[in-house]
């Protein structure tokens, strides 16, 4: 196609006119030369040429894109038509805007979590190393595994280890100490993730080996905020946990990891270590051309090699290694919830579509004569459909534009209600940005909705019976059986969709209430938890740590209002450690050890502070320290599982048999049994846990613990513990020689975080369900009101013939309720199938919960009845005389 033809049309048309004029003149000349009279010459020339205007129009059309012009004309017409009914236009646009808005917000979260690639260069090649077991695959690695994987150079370009979460480090020196997120990494970490180095360099292999010295790499944020973007920071030293660290480099701003880090320090693994404790994550970059299945094949061989090197016990039979795409792994279990939410908002959109289609049908019925007139003037059926579709697309695109804005505001609002650690959305959802995906999505659903709700009325309206429509003298004599039926079908569809949404919301509400009513097994009221990072050389042995705990406990107890103080290396309901154990003297059978359980190290007063009941035996005492015989307390779940008949208090257990030198220790006497706690969250059964005194940990275990986890202090007070924050942090700083306190949270807040996901799901689905309810109510109200209005005449005749008001009212109610009940029945059927997708979110309630399945239809029918009531009453007020005189 040649673009030249579209430009400068008016001038070219003018030229053509002159050309034609010139042609006619020459023809006249020729005719006159043949001896014709002037008049006859002119006439013949004109006849011969034909209609000059037609020629010009032909050229004009050839110089235009007809469909664009038609579109433009239809669009102007649509805007005029909509402007004439501003009420209708506003309601329709708002309905669409809200529906598209919620879709856009849910999609933008989905986009950030599921669809956007990782921000690292060439992210497809990044994989996480996993441990395979018959129970599934889980991340985490120990030094021997890392060492072996690191040697698989045929499949991996780089292999790097990094902390799960990190214990936090303390920047000391300067005016105020600060707890920062320090992540231990191995040397290849930065190269593997393609981190941009903006100053200095990253760690060398020598720096990442034992005795490699104290070196650190700073993040852009820390460099900027704490060091004022000092250009000479590289080469200077900063104080971390009272030790001087040499800053060797600064990483650029674009580098954002899933666990945000302020600075990095090298792991400095001793690769000869046989320490079997898993305390870090390993990821790798695949060599170009290597696929995940190829890597997995190689890793199967390396699992055998691992057993040869470290003994059969090092890797249980059936266990092995594998890789999984890093993106896949970071999404975790968010896929299903997001798809469920997308499905739910899709329903909201469909309900809105049905409502707008209903409005359009009513409008089309009122415009019957207009269409008939146009058809009579020669408009084809296609042209009328096009005109109506452009009207509906105008509505849906305007709605979509507003919806985009609403959706973006909505996302911020959604994330404000703490959705509970959704991965990959960045700090407060900062990773959710307006990108082409979202724009395309919103545009796509806007067009789609416009077509869906526009096509039905357009097709039904474009089938006019010309004579009938033009002869009618008013618009009151009925809207035609067909569009009446259509509207009823739409209302039934709305009802059905709403039933599904509300049943889903009902199930989630019940789930949330059930979770709330679970007794966690420990006190939450007026209990504060605080994290203290005991990193640094001072805390490599158990003695000094125990000293800080004793001192800190004493100082905290001295604060007026403090009732009890406990310490642990695990925060209940936020994840903890686990370990294998043997019962001394018990045959192990086929397994290399008796079993596994949660493994907490606590201070003597942990149980009394959290009011965890002591069921048998005795609790820890201050005297249970490294000089006293080893003791362990187990919970009820552990006693039940491993001593179904025997008496645990008569037994001794060995913790961490063969788990490496950090856990090498003698047997411990079981001295007590405590009550179960829902540490894995209220929706999980309590699992077995063993507790040992913090003061009795082997030194190496303390050193490991200090590296990977903070100490959690628990303070139960008489008053609201938040009022004691200042004296409590001062007391702990004094006791620890200046360590800062972080993550101060009441246990109620900890618990709220735990059910945040469920709360978030429930809130969203409730909002969607209510929106659906509202729209369905409006829908049925609209249909019934409209049908009463259309049937004024019929009702008048009935009344004139002696029908009672109550008969008419009941007739209208019956008709409305039939629609409702059919819709509800369909919806229940749909919900039977769809609620199975919710099964994994539910707790204490089945997908086919009778309460939800019975209450929802009743609720919906009641709302429908209320919506029908006023149109029904209006039917009884029809005055037969007026109704008949209208004709």
């Amino acid at each position: 196609m040649n673009a030249r033809r579209f430009v400068d049309r008016s001038r070219k048309d003018q030229e053509l006119a002159e050309e034609i004029e010139s042609h006619l003149a020459h023809e006249r000349d020729a005719n006159m030369a043949r001896g014709l009279a002037a008049d006859e010459s002119r006439r013949r020339a004109n006849v011969r040429f034909g209609n000059a205007r037609t020629t010009r129009e032909r050229v004009w059309r050839y110089r235009s894109l007809p469909w664009i012009e038609d579109l433009w004309r239809d669009l102007r017409f649509a805007l005029r038509a909509l402007a004439k009914t501003p009420g209708f236009a506003t309601v329709a646009v708002l309905l669409i805007a809200v529906a598209i808005g919620v879709n856009t917000s849910v999609f933008s979260v989905t986009d950030a979590v599921l669809l956007k690639p990782l921000t690292y260069p060439d992210p497809q090649a990044l994989v996480e190393l996993r441990n395979l077991s018959p129970q599934g695959s889980f991340p985490g690695a120990n030094i021997p595994k890392f060492n072996l994987w690191h040697q698989q150079t045929s499949i991996f370009q780089q292999v790097a280890a990094y902390d799960f979460g990190g214990s936090g480090l303390n920047i000391t020196g300067g005016d105020h100490p600060q707890q920062v997120q320090g992540i231990h990494v191995s040397a290849d970490y930065f190269a593997m993730f393609g981190a941009p180095v903006i100053a200095g360099r990253t760690f060398t292999a020598a720096e990442d080996s034992p005795h490699g010295g104290n070196v650190t790499v700073l993040s852009y944020g820390l460099w900027k905020n704490r060091y004022g973007a000092n250009p000479h920071i590289v080469g200077s030293t900063i104080q971390l946990d009272g030790q001087a660290y040499l800053v060797v480099g600064v990483i650029g701003r674009g580098f954002v990891t899933d666990t945000p880090a302020d600075l990095w320090v090298p792991f400095q693994f001793d690769l000869n270590s046989k320490d079997m404790a898993h305390y870090f994550t390993v990821a790798a970059r695949l060599k170009p051309g290597i696929t995940a299945p190829q890597a997995n094949a190689q890793l199967r061989l390396s699992a055998d090699q691992f057993r040869r090197l470290y003994g059969a016990d090092s890797l249980p039979p059936g266990a092995g290694f594998s890789v999984v795409s890093l993106q896949e792994s970071s999404i975790g279990d968010m896929r299903t919830p997001l798809f469920v939410l997308l499905g739910a908002v899709g329903f909201v959109l469909l309900i809105a579509c049905a409502n707008v289609a209903n409005l359009l049908l009513a409008r089309a019925a009122a415009r019957k004569r207009e269409f008939a007139t146009r058809a009579a003037l020669g408009a084809g059926r296609g042209q009328i459909i096009r005109q109506l579709l452009i009207e509906s697309l105008t509505l849906s695109l305007s709605g979509g534009a507003i919806g985009l804005i609403l959706g973006f505001a909505g996302v911020r609002l959604l994330l404000r209600i703490n959705p509970g650690n959704i991965p990959r959305i960045g700090e407060d959802g900062s990773a959710i940005t307006l990108d082409p995906n979202i724009l395309l999505f919103t545009l796509g659903i806007s067009v789609l909705t416009g077509l869906i709700f526009g096509l039905i009325p357009a097709i039904s309206a474009s089938r006019p019976n010309l004579a009938a429509a033009l002869n009618e003298n008013g618009s009151r004599s009925g809207m035609g059986v067909r569009s009446g039926k259509l509207r009823s079908v739409l209302v039934m569809g709305e009802m059905a969709l709403t039933v599904v949404l509300v049943i889903g919301a009902g199930l989630l509400i019940r789930t949330f209430l059930n979770l709330q009513s679970v007794d966690p097994g420990f006190a939450m009221h007026n209990v504060m938890s605080m994290a203290m990072s005991v990193s640094g050389d001072r805390f490599q042995k158990t003695g000094p740590v125990a000293q800080v705990i004793r001192d800190g406990s004493d100082r905290l107890l001295a604060i007026p209002g403090v009732l009890d103080v406990g310490v642990s290396n695990c925060l209940p309901m936020a994840g903890g450690f686990g370990m294998i154990f043997d019962v001394v003297g018990r045959p192990k059978g086929n397994s290399p050890f008796t079993g596994g359980a949660g493994f907490y190290s606590t201070s003597w007063s942990y149980f009394s502070t959290l009011k965890i009941p002591l069921l048998r035996g005795r609790s820890f005492a201050k005297q249970d320290d490294s000089t006293a015989p080893g003791v362990v307390i187990i919970n009820e779940a552990m006693a039940r599982r491993y001593w179904p008949k025997g008496d645990p208090l008569k037994d001794k257990i060995v913790i961490g048999p063969g788990a490496g030198p950090a856990f090498a220790e003698g047997p411990r006497q079981v001295i007590g049994i405590v009550g179960d706690t829902h540490d894995g969250g209220p929706n999980r059964e309590p699992f077995p846990i063993m507790f040992i005194p913090l003061a009795q940990m082997p030194d190496l275990e303390t050193a490991l613990n200090s590296r990977v986890a903070p100490l959690y202090w628990f303070v139960r007070s008489q008053v609201d513990p938040r009022t004691l924050v200042t004296p409590m942090s001062a007391a702990l700083r004094d006791a620890s020689g200046g360590l800062p306190i972080a993550h101060m949270r009441t246990m109620e807040e900890v618990e709220a975080r735990n059910v945040a996901r469920q709360r978030f799901n429930m809130l969203l689905l409730s909002v969607f369900g209510s929106a659906g309810l509202l729209m369905a109510a409006i829908g049925i109200y609209g249909v019934m009101s409209y049908s009463i209005e259309q049937r004024t005449q019929e009702l008048g005749v009935r009344m004139a013939l002696g029908a009672q008001a109550s008969n008419l009212r009941n007739m209208v109610i019956r008709q409305g309720m039939i629609l409702t009940l059919i819709g509800v029945a369909i919806g229940i059927g749909g919900a039977f199938w769809l609620t199975h997708f919710l099964a994994s979110f539910l707790f204490g309630v089945k997908p086919l919960d009778p309460v939800a399945f019975i209450a929802t239809p009743i609720l919906l029918s009641a709302i429908a009845l209320a919506s029908i009531w006023s149109p029904a009453l209006r039917a009884t007020r029809v005055d037969p005389m007026t109704a008949l005189r209208i004709e």
Binding site: N2, E19, S22, H23, E27, R48, V59, R63
Partner: protein, 116 residues
């Protein structure tokens, strides 16, 4: 009667008008009226140029860059727009003529001796 065309004067086949215009302009620049006359005269009045198609065709050919045009004064001392073949137009004419000959040859083969 001035119009002494035979009653079976053919309409120009779709798509061949362009070629005929280009061929006519090989002889030199001409305006619309001359082009139409030349085609009719050269074909011994066997072909009739429909005036309503001529000008759209001229404009189309010009937009494709096969013709150029400028206003001038005609033999009758009237203002007229003269069209001239461009080098692109010459190439197109050669190609179109080749296509046409191949086609008529093929059609001749099919129609066989009855065509003779």
């Amino acid at each position: 009667m001035v119009m002494n065309r035979p009653p079976d004067a053919g309409e120009i086949l779709q798509g061949t008008l362009d070629m005929l215009i280009l061929r006519t302009l090989v002889l030199g620049p001409a305006h619309g009226h001359t082009i139409a006359e030349a085609i009719e005269r050269t074909s011994e009045n066997a072909l009739e140029v429909e005036q309503g198609s001529l000008y759209p065709a001229l404009h189309r050919l010009e937009d494709r860059g096969w013709l150029s045009s400028e206003w001038g004064v005609s033999e009758n001392n009237r203002k007229a727009k003269y069209y001239q073949l461009t080098s692109k137009g010459r190439k197109e004419l050669a190609a179109a003529a080749g296509r046409w000959r191949r086609m008529t040859h093929a059609i001749g083969l099919i129609l066989g001796e009855s065509f003779e």
